[in-house]
């Protein structure tokens, strides 16, 4: 009988861990997408800084992998707004709003201002990435701890 109780408690602990992993996988997608947008804006910034070429040419020459990770799976994008609008977003809404603002205002200012705008948004995304990373780490510890404690308590209660 005791063996079944132990197995049941292990089952509770394992499902807790699986639940945590699944929840954290979504959070990791957010980080991966934030990284992709950081990469995209850095690429755009470098192209503007070094070659001063129009955005349609920049996006055309951008690594497909970065665009895919941004969630933009189609082809033929001409503007940053096209990329952001068509992407499947995992990142939080407040960051999507910031990205939309960047996308809509891109190309309306001269070079120096454009570069500053890129830097500002790269920093915003980095900040968001850092916060999300810290959140994941905290949640991982908390969920893991809770699952183990719950399983242990269950064993104690059932014995």
């Amino acid at each position: 009988m005791a063996i079944f109780k132990l197995l049941g408690a292990c089952g509770v602990a394992i499902s807790g861990i699986v639940f945590v992993k699944e929840t954290l996988a979504y959070e990791k997608l957010k980080i991966s997408q934030a990284d992709a947008y950081i990469g995209l804006i850095e690429y755009i910034k470098n192209q503007v800084e070094c070659y001063n070429i129009p955005i349609d040419k920049i996006i055309e020459s951008c690594d497909r992998d970065i665009l895919n990770k941004c969630g933009a799976l189609n082809t033929g994008y001409k503007t940053v707004a096209d990329v952001v609008n068509s992407a499947n977003m995992y990142i939080d809404e407040e960051i999507v709003d910031i990205l939309m603002k960047f996308a809509n205002e891109f190309g309306t200012v001269y070079r120096d201002e454009q570069l500053k705008m890129c830097n500002y948004h790269i920093n915003e995304l980095r900040e968001y990435r850092k916060k999300t990373d810290e959140k994941i780490s905290k949640e991982r510890k908390m969920h893991f701890g809770l699952s183990v404690c719950f399983a242990a308590s269950l064993i104690l209660l059932l014995i």
Partner: protein, 277 residues
Amino acid sequence: MAEINNKLTSEDLLEEIRIRVNRQAYIICGGRNVLLNIVISESEMQDILRSVSRNSLYAFKDSISMGYITLDLGIRVGVVGRASTEDDKVLGIYDVSEMAIRVPNKLFNVNCDEILQIIDHGSTLIFAPPGVGKTTLLRIITQKVSSGERGKRTCVIDTRNELGYGLSKKDTLVTILSSYPRKLGIEIAVRTMNAQIIVCDEIGDDKDAAAIIEAQGAGIPIIASCHGSSIKDILSHKGIRDLHRAGIFSNYVKISRGDALDFKYEIYSWEEANGYI
């Protein structure tokens, strides 16, 4: 567009569209200015500017500061507004208030054999008032001198990204130096590209004159254009006068447009032109 079509008669040729913030737009056709019942707002002008700059205003800062943007088809759009300046240099144009969109027209009956003949005898300066078709004629001449069995290596110094449009055909010996400052472009054409003919548009200032004199020292004929309504008018510009005194141009060609949209030429030799100084 429907209103523009209504205002045009069958014989009119649409030359330019002018759009203005909070003021009536107008078109230029057959030399006439025709007002339209179209008034655009500031935000609409911003949208148009964004569109003509391909959502990349930063990439056109230099040309906007010089008052224009060149579109893909070689169409020039004049842009004016409030200029931000420092030491007489325009840093950028803000609050764009007016745009002039030049409409390229197909020219019929373009016979430039006369000009092709005189080019064989030395450098040629083509002049006319704005809007007559100097750039179009230069393109046609470039196309002709650089193609065929006796085609020559022709370097086009396309400072405004306008002249080179349509010249990159497979069977021509044209080299296009896009967006190069004219002086540097001419130097490259002479020193590295070993050009047999150099073509450049809208010359006139002292720097141009110095670069052209240097190129001529290398014995390379130049076909150039400049603004001006008469030979006396063009020779009143210091740069052109310096070039004339240096004996750079063997011939000067004044162009005008006839009724059938063909070009009319008035050719002046160096000696004839000298009489107007």
